[in-house]
Amino acid sequence: MKITRRQFFKLSAATLGSSSIAVMGFMPGEALAEVRQFKLARTTETRNTCPYCSVACGLIMYSIGDKAKNAKSEIIHIEGDPDHPVSRGSLCPKGAGLLEFVHSKSRITFPEYRAPGSNEWKRVSWEWATERIAKLMKEDRDQHFIAKNDKGQTVNRWNTVGFLAASASSNEAGYLTHKVVRSLGIVALDNQARV
């Protein structure tokens, strides 16, 4: 294409003029969808209870994937459960930040064992851990169980071991904990019933 000197000036002027007009805000803006799409539209919802304190607020955990075989679930958001009678959807700052707790790099996901005198934590299996705990409990109970007091009255006490139960237990879990612990004779039973 051959452009004369005059045509070149005309073209330049037209370009400059139209771009100036666009800059001054005369161009219709492109159509805008909403600023950010709702991120929970098709997530899987799972009910749970906040693990922190004994208020035991209700949670809904939202995970990606619809539990199809090839979709790996991952929790992307946690918020309060509005149907929960205790918290009715509200949470404290710790509960509201639970997603960080779930994905924390320092979160312990398997049992570990540090032998007496050692400064090293070793990964162990759940079977090994429960068996060791059971053996040590039996050993201690056989040694320190008090069947009768000084007056000869039956007391069935095991005073050398205490039991700290979880904070977010249901009524049923609390009942079972109580049954197990009291039937062993443990007196010092407590719940993590505080913030």
């Binding site: 803006g29 958001h77 918020e79 309060g80 918290s87 959807g89 404290c92 509960g95």
Partner: protein
Amino acid sequence: MALQSLDIWRRSATTTPSPSQREPIEVAKLIDVTKCIGCKACQSACQEWNDVREEVGVNIGSYQNPHDLTANSWTLMRFAEIEENGHLEWLIRKDGCMHCADPGCLKACPSPGAIIQYKNGIVDFAEENCIGCGYCIKGCPFNIPRLSKEDSKVYKCTLCSDRVAVGLEPACIKACPTQALVFGSKEDMKDHAAERIAELKERGFENAGLYDPQGVGGTHVMYVLHHADKPELYNELPRDPHINPMVAVWKGITKPLALMAMAGAVLGGFFHYIGIGPNEVEEDEEEEKA
């Protein structure tokens, strides 16, 4: 437009009118400062929902953390210890975007569609259209928007426009364990505030009142204050906020004048062409050059 609740009312630096027939209800957040315990659940919930995280900071002798709003902290509990009527009072105010009916940020913004005001009252930033000039920061009477050092774009509270669009309350509202934060239609929030203010007055807070400043056309985030006569007690909450007059000078007077000057130049050129005509160039002269 995907959702009716996100009908656009105004867009920054745009002269084409927005569709204006549909009138969805105005929403509002009510912050009852008198019920707030400063737990910061709203701060946590805000960052969790919006996928932003604040860096771990340092203590500067106050519970306020972080020390100021940032591009990642869109809401912040501001703690003030003051003496009022001979008592020590610990006033805790949840700071963040007020979602003004007459938003200074939007008026100051030169980038088309970077700031949007929805019909429901939410003022939202579309960061992909943001050019990082920072005019909105100057235009805001409450000093809320924050420029990110990472991407040179400005961020602030969206009133969870993505949640409100699908009929949910904002994340901070849902988390609040003391019901200091309430969300609903603006009318309902005013009624709720009136009940609360009557209660406070009965309990001896004679100056209790609602903070819904008319200087910016009212706001879609309102406060119930025990000392509504002295809003500056609450970490310098402005008594009578107005958009900086410079915004009106530039956008209100200078811009149309400049446009008139431009149109004048174009018209002048046109009439010069009609009246005097173009500068004739001799045919042979042009051929010589070509």
